[in-house]
Symmetry: C2
Subunit: 195 residues, 2 copies
């Protein structure tokens, strides 16, 4: 089972890197599979640590695939690193074991410290739609334009019906990215404004 | 902003009713809009209370639209009612104000007691897919079969890639409901098994 989280890491110079990442977790460990090359991989190998953020702030997911990579963080409490300010909880992890791979090395991390910051408010269909749309935007160069248009048309229904301000902002960032790559592809109807 | 929750209510005779419901919440209140007629509406009017469960157990959402309406509960702590066993948190609420409506009366509920039971683990795309598919199944009689087939084909990708056991079970219940209503509509490829 894969959970979509945001992994924050720190370079030896103290520069924080923020990266959405699907992880496989159990009670004791969290498995990260960063791409090679990536700042996340470099930082984990250099510091031996990372922070996994369990956030519902979809601006971060949409922001990271549209060039908005700086998000407010606070220092981690136990490991060398930082955690997102906008997160329901975070887990600080230490490198336990690595299996190398030319594309996606596996970093098995041990949970060492967990903190809750906010309450889960229930599913929001617009948050899910933003997440799906962010996946599409991260693959803009690989997907058929028709497929992108069809899926954005479907996803915008949840935006129009159930979004809050954060989800609408994230949606606009994603629409702009599609428009830049495929001018005119998306009809005005998917703007996400309530009908 | 609408959050998808599960509302549990109790009849004056002590019979628990479980119903997925989209709610609008703020720091002080939660707005419920149950359909008329419904057991949720009757129970809230009779007891003046309800429990809003913030759960990521999608079996409950898929179960309730496929005839599986009994789920393990425990007594509420403050109001007359019950909360789900399988929930990350619950909020006990009391009726503050009602605005009648022939189809969906609005019940403005005051938050009176909140308890956390588990940690949010991050988004899971399969959970979102089950939720969307449950919405489709709840409208099987109103939607074009082609639309249902197209959307199940899209949603099954997240099931195949990211689901755990609970999500796969919920997905199978939903597929069975579609198959019963539209035999042969869905190709075997959407079964949700990993490729």
């Amino acid at each position: 089972m894969i959970h979509e989280t945001v992994v924050t890491t720190m370079s030896p110079e103290g520069i924080v890197h923020v990266a959405p990442m699907g992880v496989v977790a159990d009670a004791r460990t969290i498995l990260l599979k960063p791409f090679r090359p990536s700042a996340t991989l470099d930082n984990v190998l250099a510091t031996g640590s990372a922070v996994v953020n369990f956030t519902t702030d979809v601006r971060i997911f949409a922001g990271c695939v549209t060039g908005r990579k700086e998000w407010p963080t606070l220092p981690a409490e136990v490991v060398q690193g930082a955690r997102l300010v906008s997160t329901l909880a975070h887990c600080e992890v230490r490198l336990l074991e690595q299996r190398d791979d030319p594309q996606r090395p596996q970093l098995l991390m041990q949970r060492v410290h967990e903190v809750r910051h906010g309450d889960f408010q229930g599913f929001n269909r617009a948050q899910s739609a933003v997440l799906e749309a962010a996946v599409l935007v991260s693959r803009l160069g690989m997907l058929e334009p028709r497929k992108i248009a069809r899926e954005f048309e479907y996803l915008h229904i949840a935006i129009a019906k159930t979004a809050g301000d954060a989800e609408r902002l994230a949606w606009r960032w994603l629409l702009t990215a599609v428009e830049r790559h495929h001018p005119g592809l998306l009809p005005a109807a998917v703007s996400g404004d309530a009908p």
